[in-house]
């Protein structure tokens, strides 16, 4: 039935419909990528195809390399801190009994319940008071805090999924709890770490509101902020070509990482959904 002409004809409407839907989802990204190198009046790429819009982007204020470096710094610091804190925290919550354990875990999850803006206004004041005004380190600290509910939860269930017999065998061999974590358990929680790291990277790379509030200095801006500001550059005339190029630079690492790590991305949702 499947390979017969009648079968194919019967399934045509389905293919057309679903293919059309997929096209709606893919078109905006594809169109922007193509337009960013296409000739377009009012941009730096008026005649013929080329990378003029990317040159405009490169020359904007402190230069795209500066903003890329800022974004990369914030993202890497956020990912590193999130991985480190949630690895140790997940281990503590899954394998140790200590006073205040449940309270601390609930307090960590409670971060999810509080609106972004509610925390960013006092954080702006606090960071100013400790000399972290206008600081990318400050932004990374704040973004790490916002990642902790998901990361801690994810790492806790990753550790809880490992049979306890493994710990006991290692402890009989005289392993300290840290050696146990480093040599025995770490390989088993690696998938959890990849998911946590991926989500932390996407969140930090893409975040807009935290740097918008915490960064005033144009040299310290992250990429999303720089591209958003670039629009109103010349007497209110928007350079659409440069904006398209900026969106491509912003989207590229995310889509590549997503395509490479799709499995881990989906697992992140599954753990959240299963527990909810």
């Amino acid at each position: 039935m499947r390979t017969t002409v009648a079968g194919v004809a019967l399934r045509m409407p389905y293919w057309v419909f679903t293919g059309g839907l997929a096209a709606i989802f893919l078109f905006p990204l594809g169109w922007t990528a193509v337009r960013s190198v296409a000739p377009q009046p009012g941009t730096n790429q008026v005649h013929g195809w080329g990378f003029g819009n990317y040159v405009t982007l490169g020359g904007y204020q402190a230069g795209i390399w500066r903003y890329l470096a800022n974004s990369a710094f914030v993202s890497l610091l956020t990912v590193t801190l999130t991985l480190l804190i949630s690895l140790l925290g997940g281990y503590a919550f899954a394998r140790f009994k200590f006073p205040g354990r449940n309270l601390l875990f609930l307090a960590t999850l409670a971060i999810l319940m509080v609106p972004y803006a509610t925390l960013l206004i006092p954080l702006y004041v606090l960071l100013n008071n400790v000399g972290l005004a206008n600081s990318l380190v400050g932004v990374a600290l704040v973004l790490t805090m916002f990642q902790l509910p998901f990361a801690t939860f994810m790492m806790r269930i990753s550790f809880e999924a490992i049979p306890r017999e493994l710990d006991e065998a290692a402890q009989v061999d005289g392993c300290s709890s840290f050696a146990l974590l480093r040599r025995v358990l770490l390989p088993s929680v690696k998938p959890g770490l990849i998911t946590v790291g991926l989500f932390a990277f996407l969140a930090a790379w893409n975040d807009f509101i935290a740097p918008l509030i915490l960064i005033n200095d144009s040299d310290q801006m992250t990429l999303p902020l720089a591209v958003a500001n670039l629009r109103g550059q010349v007497q209110g005339v928007v350079d659409y070509g440069a904006t398209e190029a900026g969106v491509v630079v912003l989207a590229l690492p995310c889509t590549v990482l997503f395509l490479l790590l799709q499995r881990h991305y989906v697992r992140g949702f599954m753990t959240g959904a299963l527990k909810g």
């Binding site: 989802f25 905006p28 922007t32 503590a92 960590t108 319940m113 609106p115 509030i213 928007v238 395509l259």
Partner: protein
């Protein structure tokens, strides 16, 4: 006995040691700011001057009297209801469409999901260009029809909703897929044997068993939509005629643009936090009582 006890105490100490980084972050970057925002909301606190002493309840009075307070509240609620209905409905629809695995369906899944890898700010910038009357792909058609994507309040709301559906539908599709996978195949087989039609199966078997997933997705979607900011800050800039100002956008404006009043912004934030807690508790209650 003695040995066992000392070992347990050692355990507790090590547990605290491993949990210390989490505790430090939660205490300094979450609990402390939460206390500070309460204090700020009860103090005169200009952006540049800092703490000028308690003035409770002036900030709350000013917050409620702000000329955009009621409008932004109504607009945010309207946007939240529309976005939630669209995203939950379309998420479920897409999930049913690609539920069984095949090469074609895996491709469809990936296409629906790719936009959710983008940041909301990037997606808003992308649609800012797509909707532009100068550079957008539909600009000539829209011009002939005499329409503009962001020209009227209703068009601006609709265009923002389209952007949000594009960005988030795949995300909700995955949540629904996970829920659908949790329904045992035998249940569907039993319904089939009993002669249930496809629609009856969906209505009487799939939907009731999907309730926990629908509840979680709705809470997530309502919370996210009530806190909407980037799509309005970047895409509509609150316009046209201040018709698309969300609550978070109002907080940002009061704090950092023009008024520069952190005290009133803190009061608005506290009101927003309380409203969010009430709405989420009400939702969870509703879903629970519906289930029993």
């Amino acid at each position: 006995m003695v040995k066992k006890r000392s070992r347990r105490d050692g355990n507790a100490l090590m547990g605290w040691l491993y949990a210390t980084p989490t505790a430090v972050f939660v205490a300094l970057l979450f609990a402390l700011p939460l206390l500070l925002v309460l204090k700020m909301s009860a103090s005169r606190w200009p952006l540049l001057g800092g703490d000028k002493g308690l003035n409770f309840p002036d900030n709350y009075a000013k917050a409620v009297q702000n000329r955009f307070f009621a409008d932004s509240l109504i607009f945010t609620l309207k946007y939240t209801i529309l976005a939630t209905i669209l995203l939950i409905g379309l998420g479920l629809g897409l999930a049913l469409l690609v539920q069984e695995s095949s090469r074609w369906r895996n491709l469809l899944r990936a296409s629906f999901l790719i936009p959710s890898a983008l940041g909301l700010a990037s997606a808003s910038l992308l649609f800012y260009v797509l909707y532009s009357p100068l550079a957008g792909p539909l600009a000539p058609v829209m011009q002939r029809l005499g329409l503009s994507f962001l020209g009227t309040p209703n068009m601006a709301l609709g265009s923002t909703l389209f952007l949000i559906v594009w960005r988030y539908a795949g995300f909700y599709m995955v949540l629904m897929l996970v829920g659908l996978q949790g329904i045992p195949a035998q249940v569907h087989e039993a319904a089939l044997i009993d002669g249930a039609s496809r629609w009856q199966q969906f209505r009487r078997v799939t939907l009731p068993l999907l309730r926990p997933t629908l509840a979680l997705s709705t809470v997530l979607c309502v919370t996210g939509s009530l806190l909407a900011f980037e799509q309005f800050y970047i895409l509509t800039k609150g316009g046209p005629d201040n018709s698309t100002i969300s609550v978070v956008q109002l907080i940002y404006t009061v704090a950092f643009q023009g008024q520069n009043d952190l005290g009133v912004a803190a009061a608005l934030s506290v009101i927003g936090l309380l409203a969010l807690i009430v709405i989420n508790v009400a939702q969870l209650r509703a879903f629970r009582s519906e289930g029993s």
